[in-house]
Symmetry: none
Subunit: 193 residues, 4 copies
């Protein structure tokens, strides 16, 4: 039942966006009465929140499932594989992704989104720690993780939502390069005065 409501909520959210997702519409999509929603959720936003959380959880599962056992791979291969998995995971239902991206930050102070990013960040940090020797020595780990996680997340989403005239492989090549070249040892010149 909760599931039916979440499915309905997801459907309506994808079709009509947050503004168009009225409780009566969600109820209708779930084939139940408006009042029944309130047996399972305390208020409308709890439904929306749950839909987005489920979306985020599924994404994380999907990506981590694809990544298990890949940590031995050379960095470029691993990064590519991760990005590909992420892209595939996000591409499941683009209209919902749009709503998630637009309403996520406004919904609960962005807590759902931040939690997601935190989880991903922890994974990445763990991995990078094992690669210490191969990274630029001056890299502030936390900062780099913060930056790269959000960059990759955002750009993947943008690629899917904006549909730029850009081949999927090209996009992944470029994003992979961005990540790797940022971490690779090399001449640093921040241009500070």
């Amino acid at each position: 039942m909760v599931r039916r409501i979440l499915d309905a909520g997801q459907e309506v959210l994808a079709e009509a966006g947050y503004e168009g997702a009225s409780t009566s519409r969600i109820a209708a999509a779930a084939g139940i009465s408006p009042g029944s929603l309130y047996r399972y959720f305390p208020h409308k936003d709890a439904i929306v929140s749950a839909v987005l959380t489920r979306f985020s959880d599924r994404l994380v599962s999907r990506v981590t499932a694809r990544m298990t056992g890949q940590f031995e791979q050379p960095a470029p291969v691993l990064v590519r594989a991760t990005l590909t998995a992420l892209l595939d995971g996000l591409d499941v239902e683009p209209p919902l992704l749009r709503t998630a991206v637009e309403q996520g930050p406004a919904l609960d102070g962005g807590r759902t989104l931040l939690a997601f990013e935190e989880r991903v960040g922890d994974l990445v940090r763990a991995y990078l720690t094992t690669q210490r020797g191969r990274l630029r020595a001056d890299a502030p780990l936390d900062t780099a993780v913060w930056l790269l996680v959000r960059t990759v997340e955002h750009m993947t989403v943008r690629y899917l939502l904006d549909r730029p005239p850009l081949d999927r492989d090209e996009f992944i090549d470029e994003l992979t390069h961005l990540v790797l070249s940022h971490l690779r040892p090399g001449p640093a010149d921040p241009g500070r005065p």
Copy 2:
């Protein structure tokens, strides 16, 4: 008059967010009657759109003004200066920035935002074209511009809105490094099979 409405709209949007920005509140802030709004704008969202467009325009002016004549500088210095200018420009009114980021994409299909990014992209592409010799040879220019512009934009905004425990200079260092290392010639290994 239009200006007074935009000022009022901006004020209310910053104070109360999109949800809290009712037409009557905007009208009151502008010192006019609700009905009068409709002499200047066809509907509420047109006002919001205009506010955000003006915000974007001002940002572009502010940044380009700061950049004029800087093109001769070494790349690292130029990138740093640009990022700094952007960060300063976005930091003028964070509450409005929040609303802009949250509502912008949902508003008119994100047209305002896309236009902004297009304009910045054009500038960047023009500059990079003059630097051809110094860039990685394999760089697909359009793709790199698309990627970097959105990355820089998004990360700057996130830095301002999420207020991570991260020094402003550190942040700019890291973002500068991201940009430069992506463009710099160097070993490429996209990790393709």
Copy 3:
């Protein structure tokens, strides 16, 4: 307009009681749209409150108007005249009286009702003070006023609402006697052990 709403509110309250007085019904009775109510009152209960307050104010005016210049009369005549005025004043619209009595105490913590009783009590106390010599010496003035005002008020209302098989004059005779004999000097025996 406020008046039209109050008239409508009064009508609906009289016809349907508090439970049946929905905002849409009041609006319909006033010939306006539901939303318009909220231009003049912050919420439904403010309308109900205002209706009852107006009812109470009118009652006080009506009674005091009838009493002006009567203070020279002998006490029995004065009391009779007051009770008669009160009875007439309350009898203007019995269905509304019923709602007022039933909902008054529950509405704003009974503030409207208490205020009414306070005002009447002040008048009575003022009068009795001029009659000191003629009253039982042991009478605790405040207590007697508190008791008599509420008794007279309640019994008058009950007479009108319950319609006992009791002649109007008989009722007034009896209530007058109750009041006068309570105040008159005479043997006191509280029956205390």
Copy 4:
């Protein structure tokens, strides 16, 4: 079972008032399901009614129990004792009393309340009949009973609910005096023209 429901209803009515007494809350307090209420009562108001009736019955029992064998006492002592018993009986659960007084009249056309008053009136009338010789000769018995019963009832309730700055004994003294002086033989002057 009916008893459990009534207990629960009373508890909820006392705690939350009529508005706050939802059927599900009552059911929960009774430890049963909402649906089961309808096996024992035809609808919600029947429960409330029954709670109030039981309250009234208990009150009558309590008072009559305290009065048995007291009829030989001198009138002042008897009246005092009666008022005291009534006051004590009503003071058992003031929050419930409040609900009873506020909702009673609105509930079933006030039938519960009227029945209560009728019963008490019968007792009083019976007693007064035995006292005929000691009362004012002109007293219309039914009228006096009607008046005094409701007056005493109402003022006792008001004393408990409004908590005026008035000693319990003072209050009883005054109310006793009101009753006795109304019945006592004495000069009558209804102030009729």
